[in-house]
Point group: C2
Chain length 357, copies 2
């Protein structure tokens, strides 16, 4: 059976001040009335039901997850005792799923992304499932790039491929870190690179074998946790093995080393909503120049993202400006500088004004 | 004796959203911890005490005046039954003062201006008093212009002057409406023009004679009010004569027509704080590039006015921007467009969103 594991641990710092430490991006309604987490779940329906849905996030985020997915069984919301990136989270959920269903296929999906074409997305998931149902492959979902983005990692595809229905699924040649602009432009022009979306599919048994081979230090903890599963010591052992887990992504710990990694290139209107500027881009279709949430009055205001709350935002003579108005913080930044929101957080941290983080 | 009459009826629309219909500019703390009204009063001390201080404003503003000048006798806060500009307000207070003291000298002072050099200001008031103590002159305080401002009216001075101590006090040749830039530049270069500050000094008896001669329609109402003063019908008659008063400034109704108008040129660091940009200019001394009230964190933020409330204002990559953050409205406008705040109010009015005015 297919299970979805939603990785809800992102921090979303570049969407500050809406996204906050205690309530990051995935718990906010940015693209619709539902939160990004709720959208991620809704996008899977009807393929995945409550019994086949798991989430994992830092323990401090268990509460907002329960609020937003109230119908999910308590045991399906896994709280990480400490922050350790995606490799340990994938390993722990793989252990849980395999314990429940030895043939479990797991989809790994970030909670805080946007996908415009949900139907096409589900079609790609079916393709991925078909690839791994009878074979020991590690599938990644690659996004066909639409421009030279320097904020994403890239996957280089090999010449070999499998045909699955109408889709071609390629062997992965290499993973590339976020490139500079020149390199990104070469990648996009070559048609041999796709964006690494952080979405994966594999059998729980396959990824656990990969941990054993490529990340034996993590695998040792996973075995200890497996042995404690369902016993009174489960929570205590989870805490203990987490303390020793390295802080490492599944890409780096496993996928870059494994030989059996495939990629399904997808054209699904995907964005990681990595900045306010990115949110503006994905919401400003239909020739709309301003994207407004909340109340606004403007004179000569063009190409602005106004993400407000209860108050009236009044603007005169602005172009390409982002205004984000929350209960306790107001942000004003030109679109071209929206990546630098992170610098504000660094500054606040240095100043000890942690109540705003 | 000298009396001060503070005209507290301004609407201050260009300082929206801090300045609001029910609580305009003069009731707000913009330049210090005290409101502009309180600053205007404090600036007169010790020359004027509570017994010699009067205020007049629309009746809807009587409450904030009483709140801010709690020590002022109730009868010294005059509420206008309807909005009629400065001529009727000057006439009515002249009647009240003359009734109390036939030799009353009245200073007429707007409540919402800024004066950097209070001591020099008081010296000029003494000069003005000396001019009118024994003569029937109408004195205006003119401001020596420091740049070609197109937002002020100008007073053209004549060649004839009187010497009063170290000051020269000139006959007025003409009053000029707000000029275009070219004209303003000529005015300033000529050394024959000063800004019309809206500050005046005259004996109550002198200005009433001027009303009789130059504005007989208003004078007729003033006489009716004088006859009702101290009777049970006073409030009713005030309401009735106000309804018939024309909506006209004292400059236009009297000063532009009278022959006995003098002007005392003053160099007192004056500003009418006519826009957020003007407020920024007058507060940004000492090479300070940003003027901040409230909490702020910024990266690459220069020459900005950040007039905040309780919340944190966070900015990246802004230059010459004005941000005004109030409880229910947030304004973002480049400095060069701050005059256009009025257009926002017009738009809100047209949209029927009067709760924001």
């Amino acid at each position: 059976m297919m299970y979805a594991v939603i990785m809800a641990g992102g921090s979303g710092t570049r969407l500050w001040p809406q996204s906050r430490k205690d309530r990051p991006k995935q718990f906010h309604s940015l693209t619709s009335d539902r939160s990004l987490l709720q959208e991620t779940v809704a996008r899977l329906e009807p393929a995945i039901d409550a019994d086949h849905l798991y989430t994992i996030a830092n323990k401090s985020h268990v509460k907002p997850i329960r609020e937003q997915l109230g119908w999910l069984p308590e045991s399906h919301v896994i709280g990480e005792p400490s922050a350790r990136n995606t490799a340990p989270a994938v390993g722990i959920t793989a252990v849980i799923l395999q314990h429940k269903d030895p043939d479990a296929i797991m989809l790994v999906l970030p909670a805080d992304h946007f996908i415009a074409r949900a139907e096409e997305f589900r079609r790609i998931l079916n393709t991925a499932e078909a690839v791994i149902r009878d074979d020991e492959f590690l599938m990644t979902i690659g996004i066909k790039p639409t421009y030279a983005e320097t904020g994403y990692g890239y996957i280089e595809i090999a010449a070999e491929y499998k045909e699955i229905g109408e889709d071609q699924v390629f062997w992965v040649k290499s993973f590339k870190e976020k490139p500079d602009m020149e390199t990104a432009q070469k990648y996009v022009a070559s048609w041999r690179y796709v964006w690494n979306s952080g979405m994966f599919a594999w059998k729980a048994s396959t990824i656990l074998k990969a941990f054993e081979k490529h990340a034996p230090d993590i695998y040792e903890g996973l075995v200890r946790f497996r042995d404690a599963l369902g016993t009174a010591k489960e929570a205590e052992v989870l805490k203990e093995v987490y303390r020793r887990f390295p802080n490492i992504s599944v890409d780096y710990a496993i996928l870059e080393k494994a030989e059996n990694v495939l990629v399904a290139p997808a054209d699904i209107g995907w964005s990681d909503i990595g900045s306010w500027s990115a949110l503006h881009e994905l919401l400003s279709f239909d020739g709309q120049t301003n994207v407004v949430r909340g109340r606004h009055v403007g004179i000569d205001t063009y190409n602005c993202l106004i993400h407000g709350g209860a108050r009236l935002v009044a603007t005169v003579g602005l172009d390409n400006m982002i205004i984000v108005d929350t209960d306790d913080v107001l942000l004003v930044v030109p679109k071209g500088r929206s990546q630098d929101v992170k610098k504000l957080l660094d500054k606040l941290q240095r100043q000890g004004r942690t109540e705003y983080l």
